[in-house]
């Protein structure tokens, strides 16, 4: 069987490749010596900064000319931008821990982008300061932080009885001081675990025994042990953030589904951004060699899972509240359906679910890099659109009353500013370390020839 032997040994670089042209793709590929991020990432950083500067200028103009509600809208839109980027940072950390726990080649190709996302947590903590500083424009618990203030508010007819009741009962969790403490604790966890995991990831590659089974097992078990408990804690902490900063925009309303809706939404956004990043990077080395269609396809299936889970949770929440039809809960949906909001609600359903679901069903779509690039970009937009539908109808001027004002344009430009700043640091992190993890058994596996399934 000399012939068969030669058949598998023939590499792509064989000078006599003509004879082997039919089966040149059967041998393992070789990673380039330089695994650092391509120079293109520096150009992306510049573009992110330009977008951020443009977004900041337009936002400032909107804040000034938008009338009394103009600046309010800038603050609300800032919250949207912050939640979107928090989704990437926190969701990135969560997916990073998840891929350590689950294993798999999909995690290997995404690991460095996920670390880059997780390591932006400190930035989100800094960017949180304006939210708490301008909290009075967003949250009743910030505007009426004490029992006396609430009483005064009721006397002046600024608060309803049920709002006053909720404010007093929820003060243990929702007050400017308590929310600040909760956010600091959440970020202490995120920054700490992100720091440890990304340091381990570098130390793992420098291990003198790198490549041996003992080294593989040592690092696998170590990362798994932290990540397993980490995922659990993160889900609880994320629920706290979602309640503190978004659900409490309507102080009287509550949903037990809320934390999970944000969790799945984060997975949705992070996978979209992660896949978008690695497909863009795969134009250049080293991901040109390392990213196979197989992993891209697997990640596409994973994304379809999140698209389904997202609509499942969102619809389940709606169905339960619709069935109960109780006056404590149903106004949340009525505010988001009546007065023209049904247009946004329907578009949200189409953008967020119908389009990605129908496209991701197709196998050839998931194999096509250019189409996946467009779809993942779209999914990030859909995520922001969904947050708009959740945030804006909480406020009295917009409840059950969708109308145009200059201020509403802030929802386009402020998230561009926040997102641009965030992307700058994301790209900086991405460029700061090799894009491929070497001391991992999956690395050899992604270099194996590609099998179409």
């Amino acid at each position: 069987m000399a012939h068969g032997h030669e058949h598998y040994e023939a590499g792509a670089g064989d000078p006599g490749a003509a004879a082997h042209a039919l089966h040149a793709d059967h041998g393992p590929r070789v990673l380039p010596a330089d695994l650092s991020a391509p120079p293109a990432v520096a150009a992306w950083k510049t573009r992110a900064l330009i977008a951020a500067a443009g977004g900041l200028i337009v936002s400032a103009i909107i804040g000034v000319i938008g009338g009394p509600l103009g600046f309010d809208h800038v603050v609300r839109a800032y919250l949207l931008g912050w939640m979107l980027c928090f989704g990437f940072a926190g969701g990135g950390l969560c997916l990073l821990m998840l891929q350590y726990v689950s294993g798999g080649k999909w995690g290997l190709v995404l690991r460095r982008p996920l670390e880059a996302m997780a390591n932006t947590s400190w930035l989100l903590l800094v960017l949180f300061i304006p939210i708490i500083a301008f909290g009075k424009r967003l949250y009743l618990w910030a505007a009426f932080p004490t029992a006396e203030a609430v009483e005064e508010g009721v006397k002046q007819h600024l608060l309803t009885e049920s709002q006053a009741h909720s404010l007093n009962w929820k003060r243990l969790m929702l007050s400017p001081v308590h929310v600040s403490i909760e956010i600091v604790l959440v970020f202490a966890f995120m920054i700490g675990v992100g720091f440890i995991l990304s340091n381990w990831s570098l130390a793992r590659d420098k291990d003198p025994n790198a490549g041996s089974l003992a080294s593989f097992e040592y690092w696998r078990i170590k990362s798994e042990n932290l990540s397993g408990i980490g995922v659990l804690i993160y889900v609880i902490l994320l629920t706290v953030v979602a309640i503190d900063l978004v659900m409490s925009l309507d102080i009287t309303w509550y949903s037990t589904m809320y934390g999970f809706i944000f969790l799945v939404g984060q997975g949705y956004g992070v996978l979209a951004l992660g896949v978008h990043t690695i497909i863009r990077l795969s134009k250049y080395e080293p991901l040109k060699t390392a990213l196979r269609k197989t992993e891209q396809y697997d990640l596409g299936k994973f994304m379809l899972g999140f698209v389904m889970l997202n609509i499942y949770l969102s619809f389940a929440q709606f169905l339960i509240i619709w069935s109960a039809n109780s006056p404590e809960e149903i106004p949340w949906y009525l505010n988001r359906i009546h007065g023209g909001w049904w247009v946004i609600c329907s578009l949200d359903f189409i953008f967020h679910w119908v389009i990605p679901f129908c496209l991701l069903l197709s196998r050839s779509f998931k194999y096509d890099s250019r189409k996946m690039l467009a779809l993942t970009g779209w999914m990030i937009f859909a995520r922001a659109f969904d947050l708009f539908w959740m945030i804006e109808p909480n406020f009295n001027d917009a409840k059950g009353n969708l109308h145009f004002s200059v201020g509403i344009l802030a929802y386009i430009f402020v998230p561009i500013f926040v997102g641009g700043v965030w992307l700058y640091f994301y790209f900086t992190n991405l460029a700061s370390r090799p894009l491929i993890v070497l001391n991992d058994p999956h690395t050899a596996e992604v270099l194996e020839p590609e099998h179409a399934h």
Binding site: H3, G4, L22, H23, H26, F315, S323, A452, H453
Partner: protein, 180 residues
């Protein structure tokens, strides 16, 4: 059923998957299309060489899913709004949010059944008789340690003499004619 006579095809036997895949690639490049690889375990390269990745199962699954969705949704609409209208907590008779979950379940059920049955239908299974089992070496080796490439006689390019000469270039362990 009339008794068919003649040759099913030429069966080349290999001891390793590599040469079989190579032979398949060359045969495809030479213009053969009606051919099949038989291996004791899945060999992905063989599927690639045969270019058999595309089939109609996804389409049948999609059609089944759409059928389940519309059937369940229309059935519930008919039952709740037309056939037996009952006022439940003052809600409209056509309360579509309540219909979504059964419609979703039927989508999955119909899609799953369509996938399974269309797979069997397109496979040609169950198949109690296959001519290849007439070849003794196939009976012994196909599920054990041998790798087979069969070029079928229905291929327009098939010619008993030329195809045998073609297969002989591959250092196969044997090339045998298989009766129908």
């Amino acid at each position: 059923m009339p008794v068919q006579e003649g040759i099913y095809g030429l069966l080349a036997e290999f001891d390793a998957p590599g040469p079989m895949v190579h032979a398949t690639e060359v045969a495809r490049a030479a213009g053969y299309r009606r051919m099949e690889c038989y291996t004791p375990y899945p060999v992905e390269e063989a599927a690639t060489a045969l270019d058999v990745h595309r089939n109609r199962v996804p389409l049948m699954t999609l059609m089944g899913g759409i059928m389940g969705l519309t059937t369940a949704f229309l059935m519930q609409t008919w039952m709740s709004a037309i056939s037996y209208p009952v006022n439940i907590a003052g809600r409209p008779l056509f309360s579509w949010p309540a219909f979504i979950i059964p419609a979703y379940e039927w989508t999955i059920l119909f899609a799953g059944l369509s996938a399974a049955f269309s797979m069997l239908a397109l496979n040609g299974l169950p198949q109690p008789y296959h001519p290849l089992f007439n070849a003794p070496n196939f009976r012994v080796g196909a599920t054990d340690d041998k790798f087979f490439l069969c070029l079928e006689a229905t291929d327009p390019k098939f010619d008993l003499v030329e195809t045998r000469a073609f297969l002989d270039q591959f250092h196969a362990a044997s090339v045998v004619e298989v009766d129908l």
